[in-house]
Symmetry: D2
Subunit: 403 residues, 4 copies
Amino acid sequence: MASEDYIIKDINLAPKGEILIEWVAKWMPVLNSLYEKFKGPGAFKNKKIALCIHLEAKTAYLALIIKKLGAEVWITSSNPLSTKDEVTAALVKEGVHVFAKHGASSEEYWSYLEKILKNKMDVIVDDGGDICEYLHEHPEYGTNVLGICEETTTGVNRLKELNSAGKLKYPAIAVNDAKSKHLFDNRYGTGQSTWTAITHLTNLNIAGKCVVVVGYGWVGKGVSARAKGMGADVIITEIDPWKALEARMDGFRVMTIAAAAPLGDFFITATGEKEVIRLEHIEKMHSGAFLANAGHFDFEIDITSLKKTAKSCQVVRDEIEEYILKNGNRIYVLARGGIINIAGGLGHAADIMDMSFSVQLSCLNYFLTSGKLEPKLIKVPEEIDRMVTEEKLGVEGISIDKK
Amino acid sequence: MASEDYIIKDINLAPKGEILIEWVAKWMPVLNSLYEKFKGPGAFKNKKIALCIHLEAKTAYLALIIKKLGAEVWITSSNPLSTKDEVTAALVKEGVHVFAKHGASSEEYWSYLEKILKNKMDVIVDDGGDICEYLHEHPEYGTNVLGICEETTTGVNRLKELNSAGKLKYPAIAVNDAKSKHLFDNRYGTGQSTWTAITHLTNLNIAGKCVVVVGYGWVGKGVSARAKGMGADVIITEIDPWKALEARMDGFRVMTIAAAAPLGDFFITATGEKEVIRLEHIEKMHSGAFLANAGHFDFEIDITSLKKTAKSCQVVRDEIEEYILKNGNRIYVLARGGIINIAGGLGHAADIMDMSFSVQLSCLNYFLTSGKLEPKLIKVPEEIDRMVTEEKLGVEGISIDKK
Amino acid sequence: MASEDYIIKDINLAPKGEILIEWVAKWMPVLNSLYEKFKGPGAFKNKKIALCIHLEAKTAYLALIIKKLGAEVWITSSNPLSTKDEVTAALVKEGVHVFAKHGASSEEYWSYLEKILKNKMDVIVDDGGDICEYLHEHPEYGTNVLGICEETTTGVNRLKELNSAGKLKYPAIAVNDAKSKHLFDNRYGTGQSTWTAITHLTNLNIAGKCVVVVGYGWVGKGVSARAKGMGADVIITEIDPWKALEARMDGFRVMTIAAAAPLGDFFITATGEKEVIRLEHIEKMHSGAFLANAGHFDFEIDITSLKKTAKSCQVVRDEIEEYILKNGNRIYVLARGGIINIAGGLGHAADIMDMSFSVQLSCLNYFLTSGKLEPKLIKVPEEIDRMVTEEKLGVEGISIDKK
Amino acid sequence: MASEDYIIKDINLAPKGEILIEWVAKWMPVLNSLYEKFKGPGAFKNKKIALCIHLEAKTAYLALIIKKLGAEVWITSSNPLSTKDEVTAALVKEGVHVFAKHGASSEEYWSYLEKILKNKMDVIVDDGGDICEYLHEHPEYGTNVLGICEETTTGVNRLKELNSAGKLKYPAIAVNDAKSKHLFDNRYGTGQSTWTAITHLTNLNIAGKCVVVVGYGWVGKGVSARAKGMGADVIITEIDPWKALEARMDGFRVMTIAAAAPLGDFFITATGEKEVIRLEHIEKMHSGAFLANAGHFDFEIDITSLKKTAKSCQVVRDEIEEYILKNGNRIYVLARGGIINIAGGLGHAADIMDMSFSVQLSCLNYFLTSGKLEPKLIKVPEEIDRMVTEEKLGVEGISIDKK
């Protein structure tokens, strides 16, 4: 590959990246079966496909599958902090056009997008909505675009606004809303990986601890179910009355954050809302309390105010900061309030992402085989959603009854 | 009350019925708080309100509350087999017009409906849709009707058909669809009461038994969660791939009914579908297996075929029939395949029905205070749904955060 | 049978008793297999065997098995309040010598013991130690006694005292201490049947309730595990520091009874100690709290003081007494503080008692085949204990590995 | 410190070790409170104390506490593979005599023991029994020894043999048998840390997987409870009939290893026995199965035979070896069959080890304050065992009732 066709940290890191990608490849059998299915028809052949996603082993494997199906793949990272430089090196070795470096600046980030888009993509996988925004601002790059597949809630929300306002210029699929994706990766994926990250970072026992989970949506349900399963005494806080009552009927104590503040040993946010744990709460916590966030963005805990008012802040162990408050209490923040399972751990399990990425690949195929579609936001086709979950049941050897 | 104004079994049973009603009255604090709220405005005063529901202590208390709010209450039973004659006696003592006898014939049943409706009701609580059907066939009785509140899925489905066909002649509310109702009574109410009934009827231990739950909807989720909580080894069968995978991720084995048939000690249907457990399955079960149904209707287990082909059928204990199959195996059917928690037990807990009936009372109030509405099917107003759950949180002493 | 050979309420109740016994007979396969095993050798033939136990269907079936093995069986009740008159009638029909009436006076109780013992028994099954005491006071009746099998902790404790003091005159086996018995009936048997009784008596939902379990021994562990499994928020109180910490590590809140008093909706004692829930605690409880006891004796809750100081006490439903305190609160006592699963329900499951009674039958056989033994307290022989559990695994179809 | 007084890898690694030790110091409040308690009396002053244990942050902190109490501390590692060179460097900086290097040879290992013992220790902490053996072979070094504290089951078993044979030359305490230790670290400590290690090493989802736990002792109970809590479908294998039935009553399937072999996704041994998972089982497993060991020694899975007969063996990720069998299946072995939570993770949680090491420190103090004792194996004194658990309840803020 010509050297202008990629920008990465160091090509020599490739061997380590290859090992990581080979590992996850073994645990994505649904994606592998779709590869077999889509290989024959050849819809991906010579198409240009862009991905703007978290760049680590599992997404890299999705990119490689697309490449193996005959497409030209252009990829960048939706978040420079999650980029793994050994993985990008391995991708370049395989002929993928990568523009991504761990810790890239905002300027570099947008320049990467442009470098990719000016090559006139056919279909796009977006994660958060930045590529989509760029394409709306630079329609000259979007002339070939058959469609956009959006992975996240945030990105879907941005698409919905454009769609309602009648300003959406490309067909787009809300991949996040597929049952095969949101019913599984949030609850079971985040539920488990949040606790693997926390116990690995802290080397502390969860049994017998009081865990406060802020929010009882899919993520909160998963995080609290796993906490209970580890022997924790769990408290839920909510703003929604029905979810609050569900939490109570599931056996948890339910109260306000203010009431829970002095009781918790671990506080985990899972709301999607800004600054739900604030200084007024943190000041009531006992010394030794931990704060972590399981939501997508790093704004659920008001760390800015904490940093401003604390007497000191010190890294005391990998991804653990100790804040000493004016009242003398020590509060520990994990992964600087970023999404704990990714920023402080390995992210979702490979076999969970197998389903999400299989929906992605199928939606790409849908755009490549459906001709020119209307520029509006569409649902993941029911047959794709059903096929992916049925395929997953198949690889797990699970039979179900016919209606 | 004039003797033509009621038809019941025996007025002398009233004292026993009063005790039962007084008990449940203590555990319906939300309904009691609504009584306080609606008492002042007086919207119920002198209105004629009909109820066609399961006639036992909890529904009787709803009727009494409506009476105490100033309305004239006319009531019959939606299912003559569930009618408690001591409860009807207690209601008559309090001045409620009751037309119901345990074991009434179909002819009597429809005559009761007519006796009530010819008095020209203002609002109606229906449970299954029979009153609604009758009113559509006899529009002369419906001239005053402001609205119909439907309690069940079945009734709501009948209303939806009428509504789509443009044939609905009265405003109607799908009470069943309120989150305050279906999120709680199916999962937590049926989940628990199914097992109280089974363990009370059989005097057997559930820990260490293999329990097969057919269907993983709200009822199936509740029944299987409680079975797991009692130490059972639980198998789920499904026809929906997403629910099947959810069940697997919740830790259960998932397979077809045919595959589960030789493994189960208890089989519990919760599908809403006809004849899901059939002779071909029953013949594979081991001797000593139990069959029960947690769904609304008694058609989920094909008992007709079982009865036809079994060598013998004998009642061996209260609500337990022993079938000896041609292969010599003994299969036990609980409550003749009727809904186990009601037909073989005490029904839902009083404090769960508190919420469902509070939605009912609020919807009655809605019709009484909204003037003449369009004849179409409407949702439970969001403010009612929210108010009932917030009130429930209040009586439980649970505070939640503000958005 | 000659009419002087039994004293029961009414022989005409037999048919109802037969149905109950036939039912439990189906669910005691281990006992049934032991019958087959002991039938050939004939050790029970023409021996006189006395039983002094709770007289209900499951114990009646044990008596019938002994009778069928060729012994002459003499039986009375260890607790006149638990005696089922229909069951005693059925036993007399089968030729068992029964001396028991529901509600018999203390005088009658002791006269029954004498009527039995003067017939010079060969082996004795005791439950609580009264027969044993009587025999020590009347050695003239004990000349043929080969051994005593004691079922309960209480009885075993009385035997231990006699044994240590060198005053034990007969060989005795502490059946209660067999692993096949105490590891299973306390935890799994009482755990489940306590909740079946409570939910059946109250018709209330346990999910979302705060349940306080007093004591975290085997019974407390079982009762709290099942409460958690039903969706309760469980608090444990203890006096033993290790059990308290175990409870905490199992995810429960742990505190003193005084601290738990204002929090609980249900309080369940399981300590074996006297007056652990006292007036000082009851006065702190919220109105509507329930008190129940899962321990063997009815002295764990101080009902005497409650009765003395309450403004009123009234039966409000079967086995539920409502006490109105001076502070106006209403406190509900279940089954008058007696052991809730028996006094307010059906007792342990038949398939759990199958193991306990199989140990009993094997210990009887042991005495009948071992010749004259030393008059001391002995353990259940390891081979009996192992055989019963292995037999249970066998009937359940469970294979284990060889060492 | 003179350079002949320690042998470590590299003193410059100290800063990293200090961070690790400071972290665990925060989470060992019971040990910290004992330090305050023992500081005044001064029993440790100028005593020589040897430790032969796993040398990582938590044990290092125990050593530092002993040092701060005034003793001269000599330490080596009971297992060269678990030695952390940054931790040994930090200890030397603090004046502890360390003789340990990661990967030391067997020759070096025994030379370290000699270097320590020839300084004539007063009290000894042993982990596995090697120091104790050495002292019996070299009695000239043991003339000052007041006692030996043994941490592990293995070491305790070796002591019991010596004791029974009348050959034990020093007083010794079986620290492992304290309730404060074995009731908590095996079940809750190993239970959790086993799964943190597995999920961190594999990045796979446990929900919906079939987990086979071999052995249902304390470790097996902990590992299976946590697996269930993560949504796994758990199978138990056992050789003990009572434990097998307990497992069944706890809701698990129970079968032989041979029967479970084709079903499991993860196999975890917890038996203390040799070669429980053998080639005959591995050959029946499906491709993709994982093998891990949670027992103390690395002999529970017969890896030697696996290695001999497999077509290939390759490290595919950190601490994961992929064996390709002759039948083509791929089997993954974690941490080479060594104890997974230590060899593949961070070991027990710091707050769990707080209790175990507090028992250790108290037993050291017991020897230092009891004068010359008989050379026999003694139990942890009840008052120490009770004090440690009460102290733990205290730091957790848990109050219990008085008897």
